[in-house]
């Protein structure tokens, strides 16, 4: 795995806690959960929208319905089983990525440009909107890319923070996107904005904010560093044919 990708997944993994029930998207979110399960959160439960529950992928999965996700899982349910848990408030954290995110935590995976005449038409929400709306909290995982960490997303696929967000839905508090990690740091929701609050071990706030118009706290702490054996402990074989 590319070092940047490992750092990105590790930073996200530090925000997952042992025993949590995690609804996982594909890519860095899945790798983050797999890393957490092999380090500080061995009892984490991984649920995928395909219906695979208590998953324990040994290789990086290409899709939520892939053999890598299904192999070794405790339960092969249905998509209805998965989303039912989410809606009834049983999922502690949803881990998502997107094409664009803004400081309010809005996510865009629909279009770049206008909806009617997009510059780039993206694949769409999938389960992202559902996860963002219904998980008890949401962790956003994004590469540090100023083209993607924008001032305002072109289209709100997943609503971020707003005054109505911190609300009890069906008796369960749904806090929305309370945190975002990049390979350079951690942003947490301060008031109405995702704000840099921690940096990758050895990094600086200016580096973690480089090229962004986002803001940081006056003092930022360091995230836990990659374990010294990370490259072997987290050595998931890449799926065949992957880039």
């Amino acid at each position: 795995m590319v070092v940047t990708d490992l750092q990105l997944a590790w930073n996200a993994a530090t925000q997952l806690h042992d025993g949590e029930r995690v609804f996982v998207g594909i890519g860095a979110p899945a790798i983050a959960a797999m890393i957490a399960r092999r380090s500080h959160a061995p009892c984490i439960s991984m649920l995928f929208e395909s219906g695979v529950d208590c998953a324990d992928p040994q290789r990086v999965p290409a899709s939520t319905g892939s053999h890598e996700v299904a192999s070794g899982a405790a339960l092969h349910g249905s998509m209805l089983d998965a989303f039912s848990q989410l809606q009834s408030g049983r999922i502690d954290v949803g881990v998502l990525s997107a094409a664009q995110v803004d400081p309010a935590g809005n996510l865009n995976s629909t279009v770049i440009g206008s909806y009617e005449q997009p510059r780039v038409r993206l694949p769409g929400s999938g389960g992202a909107h559902d996860i963002a709306a219904l998980a008890r909290r949401v962790l956003v995982v994004m590469p540090h890319d100023p083209r993607r960490l924008v001032d305002q997303v072109d289209f709100v696929t997943c609503r971020g923070w707003d005054a109505a967000r911190l609300r009890r839905v069906g008796g369960v508090l749904r806090r929305g996107p309370v945190a975002m990690t990049t390979e350079r740091g951690l942003f947490t929701l301060q008031g109405a904005e995702l704000t840099l609050s921690a940096v990758t071990a050895g990094g600086s706030a200016s580096w973690a904010l480089e090229g962004l118009s986002w803001v940081g706290e006056s003092e930022v702490r360091e995230l836990p560093p990659l374990p010294s054996d990370a490259h072997t402990r987290f050595d998931f074989d890449a799926p065949e044919g992957s880039r």
Partner: protein
């Protein structure tokens, strides 16, 4: 004493299954979710000449690209479209920009519940998703309602009844009891929502084999219209217990489908009767 056979055979050639199940303008649900993608059935749909279809699916696979490229689809109702784990769909983007393909998009759960409403036989279902967002504003068949018991605000999604569901599974008996294991995603919700079910399987097995393992039965015979043995019918996707996903095929499709003429050649080959596997 074992019971006798419980129905007449529903085993038919795939061509006959398609022509009997699908009519012009039908709404078709595509089964499979990473697993058991019905590529062979989709190829036969292309060969049949049926057109004007509306295709619905929560998270689509490139099988949708093939149908769209063949020009048999007027509208797609999806939560997500693309090449899973690889990237966006060149084919569908071109069809939307240049060929008037209509898109009705929602979220996976929102669309799943539309199908589940149909499965339940009710005109809508309430849900807590599809609240706030530009996506919600543009989602079709969603309205805001207040719970008649608690008065809380909910979304209501209208039932979506596909005319036909296309399903690929591991096995079935000749009467139409379909057994499926592994990842199912939205497959069975969509199949149970549909008016007709067309099923391809890796093998037809004796009814006694099905009845000795009823826990594997996903669709009972009375809900299935046709079954056809099509070994390899989900290639290049995977079928648990039979074959693995061919990741290279998906990568090759992603690269090749940037070129509309590459896709047109592929579709022409399918129409001429070549196996869908031709592209790799």
């Amino acid at each position: 004493m074992t019971a006798g056979p419980s129905g007449s055979s529903k085993v038919v050639p795939l061509r006959d299954a398609v022509t009997s199940a699908l009519g012009p303008g039908d709404t078709v649900f595509l089964g499979g979710f990473g697993h058991c993608i019905p590529f062979a059935a989709a190829s036969e749909i292309i060969r049949s000449g049926v057109s004007g279809l509306t295709v619905c699916k929560t998270g689509a696979d490139i099988v949708l690209d093939l149908l769209v490229a063949a020009g048999v689809v007027d509208e797609i109702i999806v939560g997500w479209f693309g090449n899973p784990g690889i990237g966006s769909s060149h084919v569908i983007r071109r069809a939307m920009e240049d060929d008037g393909l209509r898109l009705s998009e929602s979220t996976n759960f929102g669309l799943l519940l539309r199908l589940h409403a149909a499965e339940l036989g009710v005109p809508y279902l309430p849900t807590r998703t599809l609240v706030g967002s530009d996506l919600r504003d543009r989602a079709h068949h969603v309205v805001q309602v207040n719970c008649p018991f608690t008065d809380e605000e909910l979304s209501a999604v209208a039932a979506l009844v596909p005319d036909v569901a296309i399903v690929h599974a591991q096995r079935a008996d000749a009467t139409g009891n379909v057994q499926m294991w592994g990842v199912v995603g939205d497959t069975l919700t969509g199949a149970r929502a549909a008016t007709r079910v067309l099923c391809t399987v890796e093998e037809i097995v004796p009814e006694s084999r099905v009845r000795s393992a009823p826990e594997l039965t996903a669709l009972p015979a009375h809900r299935v219209d046709t079954v056809t043995a099509v070994p390899g019918g989900a290639r290049p996707s995977y079928v648990d217990g039979h074959y693995e996903r061919d990741a290279g095929a998906y990568e090759l499709f992603q690269a090749g489908s940037r070129d509309a003429s590459w896709v047109a050649d592929l579709v022409a080959g399918i129409r001429e009767g070549q196996e869908v596997t031709r592209w790799w």
